[in-house]
Amino acid sequence: MMTRVLTLLAALLVFAMPAAAQTGGPLRIEITEGVIEPLPFANPDFVAENAAAAELARQIARVVSEDLTGTGLFREIPASAFISQITSFNSPVQFSDWRAINAQALISGAVSVGGDGSVSVKFRLYDVFAGQELGDGLQFNGTQAGWRRIAHKVADAVYSRITGEGGYFDSRVVYVAEAGTKDDRRKRLAIMDYDGANVQYLTDSNAIVLAPRFSPNGDRILYTSYESGFPRIYVMDVASVGRRALPTLEGDMSFAPRFAPDGNTVVYSLTTGGNTDIYRMDITSGAATRLTSTPAIETAPSFSPDGSRIVFESDRSGSQQLYIMGANGGEPQRISFGQGRYGTPVWSPRGDLIAFTKQSKGRFHIGVMRTDGSEERLLTASFLDEGPTWSPNGRVIMFTRETQGATGSASLYSVDISGRNLKQIRTEGGASDPAWSPLQR
């Protein structure tokens, strides 16, 4: 009996996941370092189980395919190559027809729309060469308006089953939407799906807004706004768009806020008398504690996922470098020692890596390093790249890229943590300062 093990060396991850995580069915992408051939899959239009579902059945399958191919790890076989069609969700699959076109994975799905506008989507994933299902069939229920989320959930399940990693497609990004020239730039807060769909504007452009960040469960956003005339930190409820300013003293400037994993503590920068230090605040009580006290600039704090440590940047050595301190402050340890300046550190949701912006020899880079500063890798290079944010599974980084000159403008890009699959995220107009949400529930 011949077993065929599909091995695909995918390039998503440099810091290879532990071998134990690579177990699973015969169909798998081993995510290790190395050049890869994307895994070919077939994803016929989903079966419409009633007339009202016809359009959605096609659209949902398309979004599932876009999610998968967008990772750079999968390649879709065009429908024109198909030998057999899937006309019923429960009919047996003719594996030989899919093997003949070298589809290693086959996705089949069915959509029905209820009289109340509810949507139900079923899907199955097949390992074509093993001639069996990979995992059990799953069903997701939702609303017609939320059809893209259902598609992302299907794609997340497929991605997870094949890579052994958590998914990231059913997620959102909050960012700063930009319009106007460099000397007349108007900024407003916006939120969208991770792929650029479903944009919603959260503020008007009357005041500068900067660097939003999600709460750990995605229900709130911290950001900096000049709406009072001075930079202050605000917390916004995503559902109601209601906002309030965090308490600050007259004459002080507060910015660079990020949530702790507890969702109630915020670390941020406070500038008083020209000196910028890091503080933490209980946002329920408003009680603030100072965590650093040097004449240097300390900013861009980011909590470790377990909440025990904070990585931040400081120019106490004479130039911007990265440091880690305890959640309550104390003597920090410097972790960046390469040539150039390091800023905007962001701790990976997996805890293993820190993403940062590096400036060296007039260029900007997005990079990652281990939490002890070792194994630094630069993933990008351009005139101005800055402000990394992690996908919920810690495998992809989104950031701002700005072009140079009088007509320069900002847009969002993503890259995987091996430096592959660099691509622009489509947005209406300019965009900067992305922050990725956790996976939605």
Binding site: T181, K182, D183, D184, R185, I208, L210, A211, G229, F230, P231, G251, M253, F255, A256, S269, T271, G273, G274, N275, T276, I297, T299, A300, E313, D315, S319, Q320, G343, T344, T357, Q359, G362, F383, L384, E386, G387, E402, Q404, G405, A406, G408, D433
Partner: protein, 173 residues
């Protein structure tokens, strides 16, 4: 005069007005102050040659200090400018000032906010050391959010690394 030529003249007047205010983001503050000034003086009241006018402060004394890359120290050249600012503020006690700190685009956003604050603070401290009451001065940083020159060369960067003293008529309280 045809409508067309009138349009041209109007356009040139507007362009001139824009030129007299090199920092267009400061126009609201300085422009608002312009209406309040102009009591006495040598030149036409309110003009740049009237030593009591905000325009005199902005253009004749100089409303801004430029900085070296990553620096917030004030060079002797700009100490002279700030000496003039301090003297003007102590003479014209009806005015208060906001000192706006800025950075060029070569830097990360939040670091540049902090750097702009350092620069604005350096100007504030200098003015206070020359006798201006601290409660008449306020600082704000715009980081790299408000460049006045747009090219991505040192020629523009050097103009954007600045701290601008924006005066306005003081509060009555």
């Amino acid at each position: 005069m045809t409508l067309f030529t009138r349009g041209i003249i109007l356009a040139s007047v507007l362009a001139l007005a824009a030129c007299t205010n090199p920092d267009r983001f400061d126009s609201a503050g300085a422009g608002g102050a312009g209406g309040a000034g102009g009591a006495g003086g040598i030149g036409a009241p309110g003009s740049a040659s009237d030593p009591r006018s905000p325009l005199y402060f902005q253009q004749t004394i100089g409303d801004r200090v430029l900085f070296q890359v990553d620096q917030s120290s004030i060079t002797p050249e700009y100490q002279t400018v700030l000496d003039g600012q301090a003297q003007w503020l102590m003479t014209n006690t009806d005015y208060v000032a906001i000192i706006e700190g800025h950075a060029d685009e070569q830097g990360t956003r939040e670091y540049n906010l902090a750097l702009g604050a350092r620069r604005a603070n350096a100007v504030q401290e200098y003015l206070v050391s020359r006798g201006v009451a601290p409660n008449r001065l306020r600082v704000i940083s715009y980081g790299k959010e408000r460049p006045i020159e747009l090219c991505s060369d040192e020629a523009c960067y050097s103009q954007n690394r600045r701290a601008v003293t924006v005066i306005s008529a003081g509060l009555s309280s």
